[in-house]
Symmetry: C2
Subunit: 435 residues, 2 copies
């Protein structure tokens, strides 16, 4: 007999079918024993009456792998509108121990202590709500890629073992590479710009590594990054528009295709317009001061509170909780960004639900200007980590721009989680290298 998935039981009403899955829950109700079986498609409820079958359930632990034959019956109150009657239970894999963490509670009942959550992650992920998070994350990746394919982007895989730190400065992991010093790539920045010279439009979704010394809800040492780069742009706006269209299409799609899951997870309502409002840094500072009395005009960046504030403001004022902060100051620039006018960089921050998802600059594509900017940043353009990069510019790169976009943070914000680590299967931070 072929296995039927939990979600398909209602297509077999009145027939004897075979279910396979994990014992997820057992309960007694009005003299009847109900069990819930979990498989990859969800839960199916099984009503056990026969004494011999009830006896099999005695002491049976959650996680036990079962094969159940029984009759599919309509039951509007059961998940999926169907349940199984007159079951015969067969143990496929016996489990002797109680689970180390409850897996039948909604997310709001998760342990307060995230360390407990992550210590017990292996079993905790069997919670249906946890699984929802990562199923949605998988689909976010799919939607992103489908948008990019449609827009002529080519997927690339660039090395994570590199000779130098691409962006200088920030903390990098170092290792011995057959006697040489190698670092783990913090981003594919240099490679994706090189690849603009080949495909114009490229993207990569891959791990990136940062030896973050801070132990906060924001800091992890391994992230999954979407990196995008596009050439032959006719102004910085073209990059912003591409990212805006990507984000809008992915958000609209996930809220459409996962509306039930998002409701169960208490994700916020989506408030976006196809065109995201733009505010210059200076405008944000002014609006913020006018409304809060706090003067932030001397900050080179938006303060965390301003990031939250401007998203709330745009949500109310423009009906869009995604917003671009433009005209970032030159002092925040990296050497490969293009200078803008009057002390600004050709760069904008994309903010969503109170947090920066990506910095979106146009790059400096002119060979000579780039070399000047590298020298000003104290980087030797002829050093082994950069000479190949420079070669791409020497032999012609068109105007281009792009961004790195954190998949973990994006998933966190889509779902309204409180910590980026909750959107990562097995997070890594300064204190955590397992599981």
């Amino acid at each position: 007999m072929e296995r039927v998935l939990a979600r398909d039981v209602n297509k077999h009403l009145g027939k004897k079918i075979l279910i396979e899955g994990w014992l997820h829950k057992k309960r007694l109700l009005g003299g009847l024993t109900f069990i819930a079986i979990r498989d990859r498609s969800g839960l199916i409820q099984i009503v056990v009456q026969d004494k011999g079958e009830v006896e099999k359930l005695r002491g049976m632990q959650v996680g036990t792998v079962l094969r159940v034959q029984g009759i599919a019956v309509e039951e509007p109150r059961a998940p999926g509108g169907a349940e199984i009657h007159d079951p015969q239970l067969e143990i496929m894999v016996k489990v002797s121990a109680e689970p180390p963490i409850e897996i039948d509670k909604p997310l709001s009942h998760r342990p307060e202590n995230l360390d407990t959550l992550f210590d017990q992650r292996v079993i905790g992920l069997r919670n249906l709500d946890e699984a929802r998070i990562f199923r949605i994350r998988s689909d976010l990746l799919r939607y992103i890629r489908e948008f990019l394919y449609k827009n002529d982007f080519v997927e690339i895989n660039t090395p994570k073992l590199v000779a130098g730190a691409a962006e200088g400065g920030a903390e990098v992991f170092k290792l011995d590479y057959f006697g040489q010093e190698a670092t783990l790539a913090q981003s594919p920045q240099l490679y994706k710009q090189i690849m603009v010279g080949v495909f114009e439009r490229v993207f990569e979704i891959a791990p990136a590594f940062r030896a973050e010394l801070s132990a906060t809800t924001r800091h992890v040492s391994e992230v999954t990054m979407l990196d995008i780069e596009m050439g032959f742009i006719h102004g910085h706006d073209e990059v912003l528009n591409m990212l805006q269209d990507l984000l809008y299409s992915v958000l609209a799609r996930v809220y459409k295709e996962h509306s039930d899951d998002l409701k169960v997870l208490n994700a916020p309502e989506l408030v976006v317009t196809p065109h995201f409002p733009k505010y210059s840094m200076q405008q944000v500072h002014e609006l913020y001061q006018k409304n809060t009395g706090i003067d932030t005009s001397s900050e080179i960046d938006l303060t965390p509170d301003e990031e939250k504030w401007i998203c709330d403001y745009a949500k109310e004022h423009d009906g869009c909780e995604a917003v671009f902060a433009t005209g970032l100051p030159e002092s925040k620039m990296k050497f490969y960004h293009m200078k803008g006018e009057a002390g600004t960089a050709m760069s904008a921050d994309l903010l969503f639900r109170g947090i920066e998802l990506a910095t979106v600059p146009q790059r400096e594509h002119r060979h000579e200007n780039l070399i000047e900017q590298m020298k000003a940043a104290g980087i030797d353009p002829d050093s082994p980590g950069f000479s190949h990069y420079i070669t791409a510019f020497k032999h012609g790169l068109p105007p281009h721009g792009g961004c790195g976009f954190g998949i973990d943070r994006f998933t966190e914000k889509v779902l309204g989680l409180s910590n980026v680590k909750e959107a990562i299967l097995f997070p890594r931070d300064i204190n955590r290298l397992a599981p």
Copy 2:
């Protein structure tokens, strides 16, 4: 005026259009100057007659980024069936140096010395044939993912910074992780098995790291791996069938959608059937000995020459150049494989065009048996690198199996390249950490 891509020029015949791209080639023919402009869609030929315009081309280097306005004209002999007449050339980005490597030769004319090829990779990739390789690679990834989504697989991202070496034994890169020793993941083996307990069917496409001390055409220290794992299987064959269907669908699709590219690259003709032939290791040894006189019966693995031979044999005998070698000996087993009958493992090698693409085992899913096998392999099940893994089994994992499948090697074999590094944008080996 909006930019028209090279591939679309033939849709604008008779009209004045704008082209943007790189100067790819210049030549004089019968008193006329022809230039080819490269953009992300391919090449477009431009006929330059006007003396002022011809003058602009003097000394202009390949790689110069150009904006060209001119009339789209039908020309059956030109690539794409069209060319541009009466052009006005405008330099967007000036290039002063000659390219360090010729980019206008077919692949068969690449430098003999692969070191030269990889040293000049940044510019060499602008060769249209090189770009074809990596555009096809991007599409192979897309086809693979689309097949897996259709078959209910969930994409996961597992950590590459791990506490212990997942598979023991083999060479690993080590690094300091805030005072602890971490290793770079050689595979997501343990994590994907854990995730079977959540989603039943999972996959990941991600970098994997191996400190390979050998300097051969096969060995690289960073690879892109497709990892698959599926639960609730009813026998080893179910895993083999899934992989067979995946491979068949991806191969059929790439040969259909990229037939022109594959012809240009001199890729071999595809000879596959929907069902791949299966030969036991013993049968392979016997057939091989019968045909070559060489006795390999004492080998625990197929020899490289046998791998080639059996693929050729199956191609001729079964009309299929993909083949499973089944009944691998128990002595080749890893601790997490399931034992088969009579000294064999429940494991098979998938061979394609003379090389092993993947080892495809059923896993040992029974908690107690697994612990026994770990101990026999000298691994402490309670050690920090393995305790979480064991927890997944303790709380119920169904029968499952899967494989790791090298994307680089697969791309190499699809295209008939001679070295896996040719299928990697920026390969890494014992001697190479740049570009």
